[in-house]
Point group: C2
Chain length 461, copies 2
């Protein structure tokens, strides 16, 4: 364990945490209901034991007091917003503290002229987007979970989502951060200017660090103007995955990217439709669903459909309705409900989309398993999933499929995680992608900022 952290006496958690309770009052909860419901996240990772307490922080001072106490006492801390993470990064440590930022949910300011918003970490992502729209602006990051996930969690994992193909990842929209360090000190990073090179880029370092270096309590994020006109949603069907892959690579060569470009394979469409009928027609192999915006939305959608036709598309339509995009957002709950809980989050260069789709088909055949693939196709970011099963053997067989897919993505110059992060579930995969020097540099930075290793230890890096 990094820095020789010890955990508090699990037998007497009440005694040990009582001095923190004095500071926090009823923001520190030890009810069995809270301990239970804040122990896990939205991944398949299970806590190895119960935490001693849940801190419902309402201010930066609460977070600072909590970490100063945890640091002094060598207590491990897991950090969470809405608990929508899919990599087990927010799962509680046995005898640890759970630090929840969900109550820090104020939008402090929307600065229309500079297109910035000052928000607390617990603001729900789509709430910020809604508030920005009142100023003719929007918040570009749009994870599929935007209606429940929080900005702090989005930043801590450098979340992706549906609009990355046009606007980049969450990191591209972060201007400045307020971070509480492991020992309780408060750090401010970044600036309100467009450009700022004073000192190291700590904003980017903390973004995506998955709670290992500090706890993000507030952020200044960048907004963009809402495009004029009505968006168009396009749907294109393919009989072969490889054709869909070639079509996406060709769409990427167009001068302007669409706002959204998602792929849902036939198996996933079937599962979404049986979970909640959404008007998705089950295709031969896969559909591309996407959106174009701005004054040229219709013409751009037509161009994209035309490119798809040249690459073997079997049918298509263009509509003004958002319905199909909303149907795409149902993929994760629908797959989870059907038991497809073993999944990954690989990324490949866009040139390798056809290769990865063909490879997944081969892997599915070799394992005799059905693989569902939903992808942020325009970014080359795929979420293949398989049925978890009930027994340990079944689970291991499922993991073996996903491991093969992950290795395939890496062999194509890819990444083990495009947007969900490493958390606890993918830690064993990190060394598949990063060499010893990279791991050592990350450990050195972790150790420099959290020498006692209390913040999300053993995860993320």
């Amino acid at each position: 364990m990094i820095g020789g952290t010890t955990t508090v006496d699990e037998e007497n958690p009440m005694t040990v945490a009582s001095d923190l309770a004095e500071v926090l009052g009823d923001r520190l909860s030890r009810t069995p209901e809270d301990l239970q419901s804040f122990a896990g996240d939205s991944s398949r990772a299970q806590p190895e034991g119960m935490p001693v307490a849940v801190v419902h922080a309402e201010s930066t001072a609460d977070v600072s007091a909590t970490l100063a106490w945890a640091y002094a006492n060598g207590v491990r801390v897991s950090v969470r917003g809405a608990g929508t993470g899919l990599s087990g990064g927010a799962v509680a440590y046995p005898g640890g503290l759970v630090l929840s930022l969900a109550r820090m949910n104020r939008i402090r300011r929307i600065d229309e002229v500079n297109r910035l918003a000052d928000v607390e970490a617990g603001v729900v992502t789509s709430d910020l987007d809604t508030a920005a729209k009142e100023h003719g602006l929007f918040f570009p990051p749009d994870p599929a979970s935007a209606r429940t996930s929080t900005i702090g969690g989005n930043i801590a994992t450098n979340a992706g989502g549906l609009r990355c193909v046009a606007h980049g990842v969450t990191a591209d929209s972060v201007a400045a951060l307020e971070v509480v360090l492991a020992d309780g000190r408060v750090l401010h990073t970044g600036a309100r200017t467009r450009k700022n090179v004073a000192g190291l880029d700590l904003t980017s370092l903390f973004t995506g660090s998955e709670g290992t270096l500090g706890v993000i309590t507030a952020a200044t994020v960048r907004l963009k103007p809402v495009p004029a006109g009505e968006p168009r949603t396009f749907r294109v069907g393919f009989d072969r995955m490889a054709d869909a892959g070639r079509a996406v690579t060709a769409i990427a060569a167009l001068p302007t990217p669409p706002e959204v470009l998602e792929l849902i394979d036939a198996y996933s469409v079937e599962i979404i439709e049986s979970y909640q009928p959404s008007g998705l027609t089950v295709p031969g192999a896969a559909i591309l669903v996407g959106q174009t915006v701005g004054p040229g939305a219709q013409a751009q959608a037509e161009d994209i459909v035309e490119v798809c036709r040249r690459h073997g598309a079997t049918d298509s339509d263009i509509a003004e309705s958002d319905e199909l995009i909303e149907a795409r957002r149902l993929a994760n709950p629908a797959l989870t409900a059907r038991g497809l809980r073993v999944s990954c989050d690989v990324g490949v260069p866009l040139s390798e989309l056809t290769a990865v789709f063909e490879g997944i088909e081969e892997i599915a055949r070799a394992h005799g398993r059905r693989v569902s693939t939903v992808a942020h196709a325009g970014d080359g970011n795929l979420h293949p999933s398989v049925q978890a099963g009930d027994t340990r053997e079944e689970h291991e067989a499922a993991e073996a499929v996903i491991h093969d897919i992950t290795r395939l993505a890496l062999s194509l110059g890819g990444t083990v995680t495009g947007e969900h992060g490493i958390g606890s579930l993918k830690l064993h995969e990190l060394s598949w992608q990063l060499d010893d020097t990279s791991r050592q540099v990350q450990a050195a930075i972790k150790s420099a900022l959290d020498p006692r290793g209390i913040l999300t230890p053993g995860r993320g890096i």
Copy 2:
């Protein structure tokens, strides 16, 4: 000195560096000409003494050998590409080594499908742009010095430039890095994918770290498609700086930014025109010069001119020629030639442009000095300059003007450096912007990665 670094015996540099010379052969130079010409950079910072040797690295292995030797011997290393830095970051240390990457200038690959280029650090920025254009792509970062500065230096300082208003800073175009660490180990960061959240974002950490954490030897950078059609260059004159400021803020509220949006005040136009006549008409107070691109370039330029007219513009024109943009690039050499060598690189939020312009006028009056202001106006990034003078008193008087402007920018929520970096010249200003916690975190990271403090010590952070 960080990590207790010692320098080699300045009396006997030949002896001390001879084991490194054995490895590097004639890539290690100790000629007086080389020591002299590689001791300084393009800033007004002067070396405090001569280096012991200049390493003309031709490969990552050369860099690795150099740093391993320097690390083992506690020798300070300054790192340089073309030496175009304006903050003294590349100035030699007395008794130190100069590590030049200028010979590592191969463009290894342009990957058209994924819009990536693999380049060595010493590639001249505009050479990459030219090579990319053969594939219908371009390299967005475009510092005014693009024809001489190198990619490695651009990344190490997170350089800005003329196209940031549309494409962001250099960091926004960096996908992956090859870095040699202080002790000679080679680190690879990032990925060729659009999205990648495996581990800490080391790519962003090293970008802009000004050689303090490692030496960037190669990079994978992002390219964009060349817009269709001919660009348009617009020029708009103003009789009052405040009007120009308001016009820029209004242009920033348009849905699409121009490709370039620069401000040159009357004093600077006068200096540029006398340095090299470029067809810039000297305005009452300032001109905005900018460019629009793509199929709507003419209409967008007209919209911008119209916005300027509503904010008090006195005259304007729109042309297809690049000449005025080229004239803007002459500002730095022209000002330097005229002796306006005391300058800064402040940034302010766009909402504060008028305030900063009015404030600079007040400061100029209060000091009884003329201030030249050239600005990447669309980013709120200003380069005010004043005459350095010959005596120490004159120099201090010049510094006092620039200090007041820097303090003003900070009071408006700004930064002490938008794109030139801290180097050695602005180190005293860093604490004006960053608090102790921020400085401590940066020092902790520096110490974790370079415990002996051999890499660009005492600068940048």
